[in-house]
């Protein structure tokens, strides 16, 4: 077998397998933090899917970029929210802080998404290549927003509440989260 064949096989194998290598994000990953709040928001919102009886509730769909919310919004599905409060072991005060930040993050991230969607719609309509700096800017803003929220939440929650919340996010929830590089060419 020639050396070239070996490379070719390696490339094919890695194209199929290495490109899909999956890892668990590291502790403190801002994307995991945002993912947790997306989950919290979605699961404490009213059902947007179907109800399947008996005993199976279902919610799901594509996240709407145009969702609205304010920083003082209380979770619409109070029972689900209280279940989270009990699950996370948060006091009422910490729970209120969590909900306030959930609404804030939702509002801010959805605004970012709305801006991004509008920009992409414009790019698509005009059939022009996207501005890389603009795309990088959306991403940078999202990460900055997450980092700021993490720091603020840690400061505003009680020590016990902060520990409980971030222990859950960085522990159990992070363990259920995976990330994989997609690669691709422009």
């Amino acid at each position: 077998m020639r050396v070239g064949h070996v490379f070719l096989i390696a490339v094919l194998i890695c194209g199929a397998l290495c490109g899909q290598s999956t890892t668990t994000p590291p502790p403190g990953d801002p994307d995991v933090f945002l993912a947790f709040f997306r989950m919290y928001d979605r699961t404490t919102s009213p059902s947007v899917g179907k109800e399947v009886s008996p005993g199976v509730g279902f919610k799901g769909g594509a996240a709407a970029a145009s969702r609205t919310g304010s920083a003082t919004d209380a979770p619409a599905d109070a029972a689900a929210a209280v279940a989270w409060q009990r699950r996370l072991g948060l006091s009422d005060a910490d729970f209120a802080t969590l909900n306030r930040w959930s609404a804030t993050l939702k509002s801010q991230t959805e605004q970012l998404r709305a801006d991004g969607s509008a920009y992409w719609a414009e790019v698509t309509a005009r059939k022009i290549p996207p501005d890389q700096a603009k795309l990088q800017g959306f991403r940078a803003s999202e990460i900055a927003l997450a980092r700021q929220a993490m720091a603020s939440l840690k400061a505003q929650l009680s020590p016990g509440g902060s520990q409980a919340l971030f222990q859950f996010i960085d522990g159990e929830f992070r363990a259920a989260t995976h990330t994989a590089p997609l690669g691709g060419r422009k």
Binding site: M39, R87, G116, W120, P130, H178, P181, G183, G184
Partner: protein, 402 residues
């Protein structure tokens, strides 16, 4: 395979500059998470999201199947529109409806982007990822420290108790679950009250009626965790039901009472439960019914005239066996029938071991009936043992017949 990849990938990338990773640097983040959010709820959630500057250019699809054991309860296919935003699906299961089992969420995530040259499978450049999460849910259960004994009002008597301490075993339900107790059947046979200090993890069941028959588990109780019922605890309310004369004969022995002053006949009894099994031990008391005095002269005392626990001038008293020392290790207790020499009545002097045992009508001095109760030291209180005992005093001995 991993080793081959790790060894050859850097070299391959050097030699094939157009391979993956050139240009688009985005990652896909996907979660698949199942947890118990409450005693009665299992929650599963899957999502897919692009993290990176080109997130706006992707389409995402998320296929999920939710299983209870090997049965698919539900499935869903979610797809995003291009321009940002992820896909997600949540399932929320009410355990009281579905029952216990192993719940599994399988998800297949796919991402594609024309802009990044990534097509959805089955195209060669496509990306997909599988994830799964699961949770085994056991049904809670209830255990009892001891079976209850109906005592007709008393919480306990002797070694017997009408109250059973119940424990709700969560079997995996969150400690924050709200626990409530309720009857599935037989609420007329008892009461159940939770122990507040335990957060209702413990409760007391009190038998307020005897069971319908020996071994009849009339009562079924469950502890509910946020609405998810435990397996039922079946309870049989046993109860004292009869007194049993231990030795088979009409009496055990008759002896002189203060040699020149009368006689004393001894009976040994034991209380039996609804299944005719001996009870060790339960407090017993007695009362007497109407009496007659057939003996000529009419100077012998009648038991119905006496106050409970207060011997009259003839020595009659309603008995109460309320101390452990009055019972032997088998729960047996002794009843004494006696007559003592008093003004107007003269039991014959008998020698120890000598008994005339004359049961002729002319020797009959007192006829009465005797009732036994169990579960209380107070005469006439407790469970009526349905033991109508005919009791006769003769000149030289006493005799009780059930």
């Amino acid at each position: 395979m991993k080793l081959v990849c790790m060894t050859l990938l850097p070299l391959a990338l050097q030699l094939v500059p157009a391979a993956r990773g050139q240009g688009c640097i985005d990652k896909v983040l996907y979660a698949n998470y199942t947890q118990r959010t409450g005693g009665n709820t299992v929650f599963s959630y899957a999502e897919e999201e692009i993290t990176g500057p080109d997130a706006l250019t992707y389409w995402l699809t998320l296929s999920t199947q939710f299983y209870q054991n090997t049965t698919q309860l539900y499935s869903n296919q979610a797809a995003s529109s291009q321009g940002g935003g992820g896909v997600w699906t949540e399932y929320s299961i009410t355990l009281q409806s579905t029952g216990p089992g192993t719940f599994t969420l399988n998800s297949l995530n796919q991402a594609s982007s024309d802009y990044c040259g990534i097509q959805a499978p089955p195209y060669s450049d496509g990306w997909n990822g599988y994830a799964t999460s699961g949770l085994a849910v056991q049904q809670p259960s209830v255990s009892s420290a001891s079976p209850p004994m109906f005592l007709n009002g008393a919480a306990s008597s002797g070694t017997q108790t009408a109250v059973s301490a119940l424990t709700a075993n969560p079997n995996g339900a969150p400690a924050t679950s709200t626990i409530t107790w309720r009857f599935l059947a037989g609420s007329s046979y008892g009461t159940v009250t939770c122990v507040e200090d335990s957060g209702c993890a413990q409760a007391n069941y009190t038998a307020t009626a005897p069971g319908s028959a020996c071994g009849a588990y009339d009562v079924r109780i469950v502890a509910s965790f946020d609405g998810f019922d435990s397996t039922a605890l079946w309870i049989f309310n046993n109860a004292p039901q009869s007194v049993f004369h231990m030795w088979g004969g009409p009496w055990d022995s008759t002896n002189p009472w203060a040699p020149t002053a009368g006689w004393q006949t001894t009976y040994t009894y034991k209380v039996l439960d609804m299944c005719s099994q001996p009870i060790n031990y339960v407090q017993v008391n007695e009362t007497f019914g109407s009496s007659s005095e057939p003996y000529p002269g009419g100077t012998w005392c009648l038991p119905s005239t006496n106050q409970p626990g207060v011997p009259d001038t003839c020595g009659w008293a309603w008995g109460s066996w309320s101390n452990a020392s009055q019972f032997d290790q088998y729960g047996q207790f002794v009843d004494y029938l006696f007559e003592i020499n008093k003004s107007g009545k003269y039991p014959p002097v008998i020698a120890s071991g000598q008994n005339w045992f004359d049961e002729s009508a002319s020797s009959n001095v007192v006829d009465t009936s005797q009732f036994f109760y169990a579960g209380s030291p107070t005469n006439g209180q407790g469970v009526n043992l349905n033991a109508l005992v005919s009791m006769t005093h003769y000149l030289d001995h006493g005799k009780s017949v059930q």
